[in-house]
C-alpha cells in the first residue's frame, strides 16, 4: 500500500510542479521560444510552398516524378510543423530550422524558375523532380559508378598515403635516403599527377591500374613532404630525453619521431585527399570507363543534365564524407592536441 501511494504520488507531484513552473519559464523565454517556433513554422510553410509550386502550374517539360516530389515535400513540411507544434523539435533540428527554411525557399524558386516558367534555359537547368527522377530510375547505373569510384579512390589513396608516409619518415630520419630521394621528389612531386595520364595509360596493363597509380601519386607527394617536415621538425630535446632513458633507435623512430610528426602527417593526408579527388575525376573521364567521373562525362555527352547534377551531388557527398572521416580519425588520434579545427 505504501509503495503504491509513493509511486502514485511522485508523478503527480512532479506534474503539478511542472505545471506551476511552466508558465513562469514560458514567460521568461517567450521571445526566444517564439523565434524558434517561428523559424520552424516558416520552414514548414516553405516546404509546403515547394509542394504547391510543383502542383499549381503545368510542367513545361515531360517529368514523371512531379507529383511524388510534391507529396514528399508536403509530408516533410507536415513533419516539420508537427515537430514544431509539439515541441519535439530536438536541439539539432531546431538549430537547423533556418537552414530548412532557406532550402525550402530555394527549392520553390528553383521549381518555378525551371519547370514552370523556364526563366533558366531548360535543358541545362533541370528542375528538382528531374534530379529526383535520376535517383529513382537510374540508380543501378549511378550506384555501380559510385562503387567503382569509391574502390578506385580507396585503393589509390591507401597506397599513396602508405608509401608517402614511409618515404617521408625515411627521408626525415636518414640522411642517405634524403640525399637520393629528395632531388627525385623535387623533380616529380610538383608536377600535377594528371600530366602523367598519357604516360600512365600506355605503361600500365590496364587503365584501372594506371588510374590507381595516378591517384597514389597525387596523394603521395603531399603526404611525403609533410611527413618529412614533421619528422625533421621534432625537437632534439625529445630525442635527448628518450636516449637518456635508454631508448634504442627503433624506439626513437616509432615512439618519438612518428607520434611527434602526426599532426603534420594529417595535414599531408588532407591535402593528398583533395588532390586525389581531382585526379580521380579526370582519370575516370579520360581513361577508366566507370565511376562517377565517367558518369558525368557520359551524361554530358547525352545532354542528360539532370543525371550530371545527380552525379555531382553524390560526388560532393562522398568527398565531404571522406574528409569528415579523415578529420574524425585525426581527432581520435590527436586528442592530446589543443584547439584542433572542427570540420
Amino acid at each position: 500500500m505504501s509503495t503504491y501511494s509513493t509511486r502514485s504520488k511522485t508523478p503527480a507531484l512532479a506534474r503539478s510542479a511542472g505545471e506551476k513552473a511552466a508558465p513562469a519559464s514560458h514567460s521568461l523565454s517567450f521571445p526566444i521560444s517564439v523565434a524558434k517556433n517561428a523559424s520552424g513554422a516558416l520552414a514548414g510553410l516553405a516546404w509546403t510552398g515547394f509542394g504547391l509550386s510543383c502542383l499549381l502550374w503545368q510542367d513545361l517539360g515531360d517529368w514523371s516524378r512531379t507529383h511524388e516530389v510534391a507529396i514528399a515535400s508536403f509530408v516533410f513540411a507536415g513533419s516539420i510543423l508537427t515537430a514544431t507544434l509539439f515541441g519535439r523539435f530536438g536541439g539539432g533540428l531546431q538549430s537547423r530550422a533556418p537552414w530548412l527554411l532557406a532550402f525550402g525557399l530555394f527549392l520553390t524558386i528553383w521549381e518555378i524558375a525551371t519547370a514552370k516558367f523556364a526563366w533558366l534555359p531548360l535543358p541545362f537547368f533541370p528542375p528538382p523532380q528531374a534530379i529526383v527522377e535520376v535517383y529513382t530510375d537510374d540508380w543501378p547505373k549511378l550506384l555501380a559508378s559510385t562503387v567503382a569510384s569509391v574502390k578506385l579512390q580507396l585503393v589509390g589513396y591507401a597506397l599513396g598515403a602508405a608509401i608517402g608516409f614511409l618515404t617521408g619518415v625515411l627521408i626525415g630520419w636518414s640522411r642517405a635516403v634524403g640525399y637520393w630521394v629528395h632531388p627525385a621528389l623535387r623533380f616529380i612531386g610538383p608536377l600535377p599527377a594528371t600530366a602523367w595520364l598519357p604516360f600512365a595509360l600506355f605503361t600500365f596493363p590496364s587503365s584501372w591500374s594506371a588510374s590507381t597509380f595516378l591517384i597514389a601519386l597525387a596523394t603521395g607527394f603531399p603526404v611525403t613532404v609533410l611527413t618529412w617536415s614533421g619528422v625533421a621538425s621534432v625537437s632534439n630535446a625529445y630525442y635527448d630525453v628518450a636516449r637518456t632513458l635508454g631508448a634504442k633507435p627503433s624506439f626513437l623512430v616509432l615512439k618519438v619521431a612518428i607520434p611527434a610528426a602526426l599532426p603534420h602527417v594529417f595535414v599531408g593526408l588532407f591535402m593528398g585527399l583533395g588532390s586525389s579527388f581531382a585526379v580521380l575525376v579526370v582519370a575516370e573521364m579520360m581513361g577508366v570507363k566507370a565511376g562517377l567521373g565517367w558518369y558525368l562525362q557520359w551524361a554530358q555527352g547525352w545532354a542528360a543534365y539532370a543525371n550530371m547534377y545527380a552525379a555531382l551531388i553524390v560526388m560532393s557527398l562522398l568527398c565531404s564524407g571522406a574528409i569528415t572521416l579523415l578529420f574524425r580519425t585525426r581527432d581520435r588520434l590527436l586528442v592530446w592536441q589543443k584547439g584542433v579545427v572542427k570540420w
Partner: protein, 265 residues
Amino acid sequence: MVAVAIAETDRPAAVGASLNVEGVSHAFDIDGAALPVLNDVSFNVRPGEFVALLGPSGCGKSTLLRLVAGLEPPRLGALFEDGRPIKGPFPSRVVVFQDPTLFPWRTVWKNVALGLEAQGVLKSQRPRVDAALDLVGLSAFRNAYPHQLSGGMAQRVALARALVNNPRILILDEPLGKLDSLTRISMQAEIAALWQRSGFTTLMVTHDVEEAVFMANRVIVFSDRPARIKADMTVDRPFPRHRGDPKLAELRSNILGLLGLDANW
C-alpha cells in the same frame, strides 16, 4: 671546517654512484670556428653527494651535464661512473631538463613509463610507475595530458619520469629555472628530501645561488666561458635546512663575490 653534519650512514650505500671528471675540455663548432666551452675541468663526486654547479650564464655548465649524461663525447679527457668510462647515455644517469619536455601525445602515466618502456621492462614493472607518480603527488593526474598541467606539475612529472628508473646519478639541468618562485621554494625542499631518502648522487646546474647553498652539500663555481673550476666548497649544514641560516647567508655572499656580483648585493 665544521664536522660533517649529514648522517651519511642513514642512506643505502649502493644507490649513488661515484663520478670522476678527468681533464675534460670541450668545444662547439660555430661557423667552422671552434668555440671552447670547457677548459680542463676535473673533479670527483663521491657516491650520494649533492653537487651544485654554479657559474655565469652560458659558461658551459649545461654542456658538462650533457657529457655526464653521455649525450655527447668530450673532445678531450674522460668521465667515469663508478670507475667505468661513460661512453653513451644509460638509464643509470637520467637528466631532468629546464623544460619538462614531456611528450605531449602521452598521458602523464605513459610519460613516466617512458624509461621502463624504452628498456623493455614496463610489462613486469608497472607498479614502479604508480609509485613514482605517488612520490611526486600526481597520482590523480595519471590520465591527464601535458597541456593540462601547470608548469610545476609538469616538472614534477619530469622528475617522476627520471626517478622511476632508480637512477644512480640524477642530473638536474636548472630544473626549477622556469617555475614561479613559490613553486620553486616548495620543490627545492621536495627534491632535497627525495635525494636524502633515496641516496642517489645528484649533479645540479643552477643560476640561483640561494638554491645551490640550500639544497647541495657541495658547490662548484665555474668561471666565464671556457669554464674552469673557480672554487669548490662544502656546505656542511644539516638537513632540513632553513633559509634564514646565517651560515648559508655568509656562504651565499662568498659565492656572489666569486661571481663578481658582491657589489650588487
